[in-house]
């Protein structure tokens, strides 16, 4: 299983990539594997406020629905609407398929680096 070094990870299995004041958020490979086939993604809208540790959307697999938790607080500045038509990219390319981008980041959850997150997953899995 892949845990890219350049990303940070939340305990709720989202990844964050921050650059130039914008945080890109997706779900980890471990998360997609646990979910199984993703068939639907419920997305917020541009301009919505997200709060660290709280749900900003959800992702449905054939089996169940799971909340997407935001690892940061801020304002949604971009939404990956391609996921509406091709939610399965969350399975096939979890680190390419970002879900939202957040600007004006004010707060962050406690995040892990790749090594810590890998250990965390090993414990959970």
């Amino acid at each position: 299983m892949n845990f890219p070094k350049e990303l940070q990870y939340a305990k709720s299995h989202e990844w964050v990539k921050e650059a130039d004041g914008v945080a890109e958020i997706g779900i980890s490979e471990f998360a997609q594997d646990q979910l199984g086939d993703v068939v639907f993604v419920n997305l917020p809208q541009e301009g919505d406020e997200v709060v660290a540790g709280e749900a900003f959307g959800d992702v449905e697999s054939v089996k169940a629905v799971s909340d997407l938790q935001s690892p940061v607080s801020g304002i949604v500045c971009e939404v990956n609407e391609a996921l509406l038509d091709a939610p399965e990219t969350l399975n096939s390319d979890p680190y390419g398929a970002w879900i939202i981008r957040v600007k004006d980041v004010t707060d962050r959850e406690e995040l892990m680096d790749a090594e810590a997150y890998e250990a965390f997953c090993a414990e959970e899995g």
């Binding site: 086939d37 068939v39 639907f40 419920n42 449905e60 054939v62 089996k63």
Partner: protein, 883 residues
Amino acid sequence: MSELKRTQLYDVHVAAGGKMVDFGGWDMPVQYPTGIVAEHLYTRHFCSLFDVSHMGRILVSGPQRVEFLQHVLSSNVMALDLNEAQYCIIPNENGGAIDDAYLYRFEDDRFLLVVNAANTDKDLVHLRKEVQAFDCTLTDITKEWASIAVQGPKSRELLTILSGGAPLTELMKNCLNTLPLEGRVARIAKTGYTGEPLGYEVFVKSEDAAWLWNRLVELGAKPAGLGARDTLRMEAMLPLYGHEMGEDAEGKEIPIYAVSLAKFAVSFSAQKGNFIGREALAKQYEAFQQIANRHYSRADGILPKKIVPIVLLDRGVMRKDMPVYKDDKMVGWITSGTMVPYYVAEGEGMATTYTDETATRALGMAYVDNTVETDDILYVDIRGRRIKAAVPRFHMRVDAPPFARPILYTPPVEDKAATGVNYRPEAMELIQKATENHIWRQRKCINLIPSENSASRAVQLLCASDPAFRYAEHKKILSFYDHEIFYYQGTKFIEKVEEKLVEQLRQYLGATEVETRVISGQMSNMAVFSSLMDFKNRNNRKVTPKRLGYILHNHIMKGGHLSAQPMGALHDYVAVDPVTERNAVVPFPVLPDNEYKIDVEETKKVIDQYRPEFIIFGKSMVLHKEPVREIRQFVDEMGLDTTIMYDMAHVMGLVGDHFQKPFEEGAEIVTGSTHKTFFGPQRGLIGVNYKPDELKWNLWKTIESRAFPGSVSNHHLGTQLGLLMAAYEMNTFKDEYQGNIIANAKHFAKCLKAEGLDVAGDPAIDYTETHQVIVNVGYAQGYDIAERLEANNIIVNYQATPNEESFTASGALRMGVSEMTRFGFTKDDFAKLASIMADCILRNKDVTEDVEKLRSEHLTMKYCFNDDEFTSALENFLGVIGL
């Protein structure tokens, strides 16, 4: 928490990477590494394996096993023959479900009841308590036997490899069989929980489970988990206990009749008598009928809600217990919901094919107010948002095998009536197209449809002349010594024509009487069935007449015609057996090694068992003579009053020395159509051999009155006129024509075989004794091959063989030599045709030029009057009448 239970296949699942979860106390695979979507799709288009060994398997034995099962189940256990299964419910006294189950009768003296895994303990407590009042034993064999569901279009093919080619079960759903799979005992059921038209559940001893699973995987089946099992059953609208049965979102019990499948699972038959929950279920059934008749409020106290299919029209996924709204009123809850994948289809009708492209749709089931109807728009509250949904008629259809066909929801559209259009261009076009069609079918095509023929020019012209637009109702009146009395003036010509037609056909058939007013073969049969029913009830007119039964007939899957099936012409005349609650028909047994031929010795046993009051010989896929003489002899020896009819629709033109003489052999009634092997336009006829001094003479008199006024008032005088000419032709040329038909058919069959095609039937008799030849082209390939032949101007029927469950899965071509023989084809011509067809079928060659050449050599009709004097009279007729 207690230790999770493991099935016989646990290690196999873990080794295959199955994601194991707790399901009803069992450690079960919810999916394998390929995922639920891929597993679902693989089931629909190939074949998946499901471990269903976690389900409870209970053997029911002992002298009072039937009485016990009738008491605790909703279904009529007496209706189960050996090697049949039925869906049933274990009801409680309130008419709710303790569980739903499947009952299998693999053995004469024991039943197998299979129940839901999570309910097995609860069910056993209930059943063990109830069984105390009966001399009956319950044995839990869940551990001793394993169970694997093999589901999908390839399931039969794969299992048949393991059976060494032996047929698995009869083709119908719920048929069972016990047979060895590579030497290991297996009990096979044509049942399943995926909706697949081809699917089996296989019970094997525990020690054989891993072997069977791995063998099927080797052959190409793939494992599927509980996740796919759930999405598949939802698409098929199959209920699941805990969702569509049991308790609703508010904890109230869901009545059994809320699920419409209940109407098949519950029986109120007199044989069944009283049973647990009967009173409550009878009330529910009454309410169920009120809802069906849209008297919703009359059902409110008993069935306020019902289970319906539901599909989302906007993005989202439904889940159990989400509230459902109609307008702004909450009408119920989702009971099951998911996102289901499907293969995108292309083309229409039989030409429908599935692409590699897949898509998904959000569907499920809802428990909603009984007023909700198909096409209603509903809204589902998905985590605070109301998402638009609709009630489709169904999510999927399973009546066009080999595939289960997803039905995508389309909202109803309103028809716009066109007004003020000038139809003259269309009228012109119609003339043009009709010309092209006539030339194509009469001069360019090699037509091998066995139920068709071409009529001579004289017959065609007579059909189109004046009588085609007239009436001539007539009836025999006893006051005038049974003389025919006509109701219309201007009918003296047609009266003579009808007299002569009856005389010609009596002579042809060897009948004492013939009725010619029926205008199709199907109508002929319906008039006879109606007459027989009337005859049966003639001594008591004060009660509703009893229907006919038992009736011995050729089953449609073994080549029987629609006009002798309960779904066809027998529909309104056949009784329902109170024991089986099914139509009182029994099929002729056929030979195990030649399913096209009736097994006479087995038939005698069936006659002895059922004492049929009516036997119908004849079929539409016909290679053999029917054993009329043998069966007549047996019926007479038994002293039965059975009426024997021979529906000779296909072989009407073959009556005589080269085929069969029905009345000499013992038939009492012959029906048929006049345009297949006979030379006529499209009509029917009924012949009998009753004489005025016989008891059944009254049956003949009834047949006359069920023809007119019973079936037809306008009996199509134009084609009756044409038929008289056809009868003259037949009575003049029949010996030569019939001899050539049989010789051509046998030669055609042999040549097709020599060309490498798989010709059905018995090689010892050159495959056929009729005008028909049947060629197997491979399961579900029939339509494509027939289309290819048509593109090359060869017209055949694609046809399901006795081993195919539906015409949509046809694997054969049904052909007849009658029309081409009439156009003068000889044995040599059929040899050439066989070679051309092999090029087209086996080598996919364009044979249009070969077909054109062969056809162009045979444009003159034979076996009709074509001397100069006759031709000149015909030209004169044409010129005078101006046609």
